[in-house]
């Protein structure tokens, strides 16, 4: 039993943090919003160059073959900067799925390419327009198509960097890849969205803390007032108790049992609730500034809202936890128990 990260894992997260801190600043977002784009090729190139897109890809498909724990740390950093590009869905979900179906597929070697995924649980596909290809589902089988082989209808999201589309397509115009593990895709996406939620939440708190130290009212920084402090402390408590759930969910995902699924669902629920609590607290602490387009907090609010409802609604995830509770033993000796051991 050891619930700590090793140095290599911390180092990867550190690398991602540094890269995003330099390349994904509020200035960058603003320029992209003005230009109406959701992908910055230069930033994506640096992400690729650092190896972040290869972390979860197996070595047989040209990747580094690390674990979900490693990728979750990167996803958290992506959340901290509200990264516009679909690093999580492409490199964390779609590419590993493609690699499992077709490890030699040319797309996997095309470093600049992103892959979108149309999961049956989601009504829309994110970033389908800028993707080199889209993974599609029919009767449990996976198909691959390029955006121009399908019909995309834009479904504008409140999040300026989430480009959503409904997709209509015909299997005759797509490449069949065979039966795919859509449940694993869901688990990974839910887990990495949870990890992003931690990053979103912490950034919202950090922005508010910075502001509350500077902004003066009644002759004092507003951060010295308890009502302000307590909003942010409450958000931080939510973050602190989502963190270990995300870490455990990442470490256990490969067990693929009732407990592992419940923990992923738990992680997704609480991390995105923390992101929502933190973003709303942050807006409140910023006053009218927080309500202005100028100040960045709204990006974190909107991303949290979007991620909370995609890849399984809260009700969907709560039901998976209920299944764990009502079909598996509960109690203090069951924290790390497995379905198979109890069978």
């Amino acid at each position: 039993m050891d619930f700590t990260l090793n140095d290599e894992q911390l180092m990867f997260a550190e690398t991602a943090r540094g890269l995003f801190a330099d390349s994904c600043t509020p200035d960058h977002w603003r320029k992209m919003m003005e230009a109406g784009v959701a992908r910055d090729d230069a930033r994506w190139a640096s992400i690729v160059e650092t190896g972040l897109t290869l972390v979860l890809l197996p070595e047989s498909a040209g990747g580094i073959g690390l674990s979900e724990t490693d990728f979750a740390l990167i996803a958290r950093e992506a959340g901290y900067v509200a990264l516009p590009e679909p690093l999580v869905e492409s490199a964390g979900v779609a590419a590993p799925m493609l690699a499992a179906l077709a490890p030699d597929h040319a797309l996997l070697a095309d470093t600049m390419a992103t892959i979108a995924i149309a999961h049956p649980l989601n009504p829309f596909v994110a970033h389908a327009d800028s993707a080199a290809a889209i993974l599609l589902e029919k009767d449990g089988e996976a198909y691959l198509a390029t955006p121009d082989q399908v019909t995309l209808t834009a479904q504008p999201s409140i999040d300026p960097f989430r480009r959503l589309f409904s997709v209509t397509w015909d299997a005759a115009n797509a490449t069949a890849l065979g039966k795919a593990d859509w449940d694993l895709a869901l688990d990974r996406a839910a887990l990495f969205n949870a990890a992003m939620g931690l990053g979103l939440a912490q950034r919202s708190v950090d922005l508010a803390v910075e502001y509350a130290k500077e902004r003066q009212q009644f002759g004092k920084p507003i951060g010295s007032y308890q009502a302000v402090k307590h909003h942010l402390a409450t958000a931080q408590v939510a973050i602190e108790f989502a963190k270990p759930v995300v870490a455990a969910a990442a470490a256990e995902i490969s067990a693929r049992d009732v407990q592992a699924r419940a923990r992923i669902s738990h992680a997704k629920l609480v991390a995105l609730e923390a992101a929502d609590t933190a973003a709303r607290a942050s807006i409140q602490v910023h006053g009218a500034m927080g309500y202005s387009w100028e100040v960045d907090v709204h990006l974190f609010l909107k991303r949290a809202l979007a991620l909370s409802q995609s890849w399984g609604t809260p009700a969907f995830h709560r039901a998976r936890i209920a299944t764990r509770i009502f079909t598996q033993p509960m109690g203090p000796d069951q924290t790390f128990a497995r379905e198979t051991e109890n069978a």
Partner: protein, 384 residues
């Protein structure tokens, strides 16, 4: 990262389980706060525990422990809660003062106090709060005056849990003429020493669970001072870290409660408000998150880290989850929720008493308002 138990840890769990099955009381004991008999029954249980060498497993062997690590402690706590074994009447000693003594005490002090603490021979109360010094603990007025090799203690302490029946107290005293955080010392005194008067105070559940303590020129040897004179505040904050962050409320009790809540739900879901299932799920999630957090903290401490201000986040989380959990149970019980245990047909769990107990959580061990101040100022860096 490895979230599996080693074969040694599994064997340890089996050993604890077998021992508790063989030795645990067959009938629940009367509550230790209710009567002297209840208190003494718990003391006897502590002695039984010690006979199996389970008094406090993390302490070094020479001081009455087993020299085990924090993961083993968690396993012990899990099995203890799972077995439904009695509440620890010596909790203020073993969970708060004990770890503090191990960090700050001399070898002689550890030898003198720890083994008897682990065996229940001496049961400890915490005497910090005063009528004028609650949240603002640095406002302590009780005094300690050195007289040769002794201290003379005087003052008025209050809200001291279990002091009505306990043997010893660890108190916070001020050297006359000092102010606020400076000049405080942590000093032990026997609750039956000449000059000590202990008056019971009833809690809202009717138990004589706390006491006020009057000290009038109580003489104790300077040996009873932990750390240096004037170091009391620093030492108390370390104790508070153990209290809030790790030991006082081990996750296992909430996991047991969450399981019982799920059973209560299953037995009543035909008639109860269907919306409550979400709360039953939430109670499990909270207990589980708390357990994971504590496993992570234990791993970090074993890797050499120290408990910091994040202990305050724990205290808020466990106290709030306890209220939510017990409130959910009462909501499921509906119109029978108000019945006391004697009248209730709800089964073996005394939900109403658990709920009343839970309500104290946001007050003691530093109120949750104070914890939020600590988080804001020391974790987030907001100005005072």
């Amino acid at each position: 990262m490895d979230l599996t138990y080693t074969p040694e840890q599994q064997a340890f769990r089996a050993e604890v389980r077998a021992w508790l099955e063989a030795h645990g009381p067959s009938e629940p004991l009367e509550h230790y706060d209710a009567t002297r008999e209840g208190f003494e029954a718990h003391r006897t249980w502590e002695k039984t525990l010690k006979s199996g060498d389970w008094g406090m497993v993390t302490w070094p062997k020479e001081y009455g422990g087993r020299g085990l690590d924090l993961i083993q402690w968690l396993i012990f706590e899990e099995e203890y809660a799972r077995a439904g074994a009695p509440g620890r009447v010596s909790q203020n000693g073993i969970f708060l003062l004990g770890p503090t003594l191990i960090e700050f005490g001399t070898h002689e002090q550890k030898q003198r106090f720890l083994p008897k603490m682990a065996s229940g021979e001496e049961i400890w109360a915490q005497a910090w709060s005063e009528p004028q010094a609650g949240s603002d603990l640095a406002g302590v007025r009780a005094t300690c005056v050195q007289d040769g090799d002794d201290y003379i203690l005087s003052g008025h302490k209050i809200w001291s849990s279990r002091a009505v029946f306990a043997d010893w107290a660890f108190g916070l005293f001020r050297t006359p003429g000092t102010e606020r955080h400076k000049g405080l010392s942590l000093i032990f005194f026997p609750l039956n020493a000449p000059g000590v008067t202990v008056n019971a105070i009833k809690k809202i559940n009717g138990h004589v669970g706390f006491a006020e303590i009057f000290l009038e020129n109580v003489r104790v040897p300077a040996f009873n001072r932990l750390g240096d004179e004037g170091q009391g505040w620093h030492i108390c904050m370390a104790t508070a870290g153990f209290e809030r962050g790790l030991m006082l409320r081990s996750p296992a009790r909430y996991q047991v409660a969450a399981r019982k809540l799920a059973q209560l739900w299953e037995a009543n879901k035909e008639t109860a408000d269907p919306a409550l299932e979400a709360d039953v799920v939430r109670a499990h999630m909270n207990a589980d998150a708390y357990a994971l957090n504590i496993y992570q903290t234990a791993s970090r401490l074993m890797a050499g880290a120290k408990i910091g201000p994040e202990a305050s986040t724990n205290k808020i989380f466990w106290s709030e989850l306890d209220i939510h959990l017990t409130q959910t149970a009462l909501a499921i019980l509906g119109p029978t929720a108000e019945l006391t245990q004697e009248a209730s047909a709800a089964g073996p769990v005394d939900w109403i008493d658990d709920y009343i107990f839970a309500l104290a959580g946001p007050i003691y061990a530093g109120s949750n308002e104070i914890q939020r101040n600590i988080i804001a100022e020391r974790m987030l860096g907001l100005p005072r």
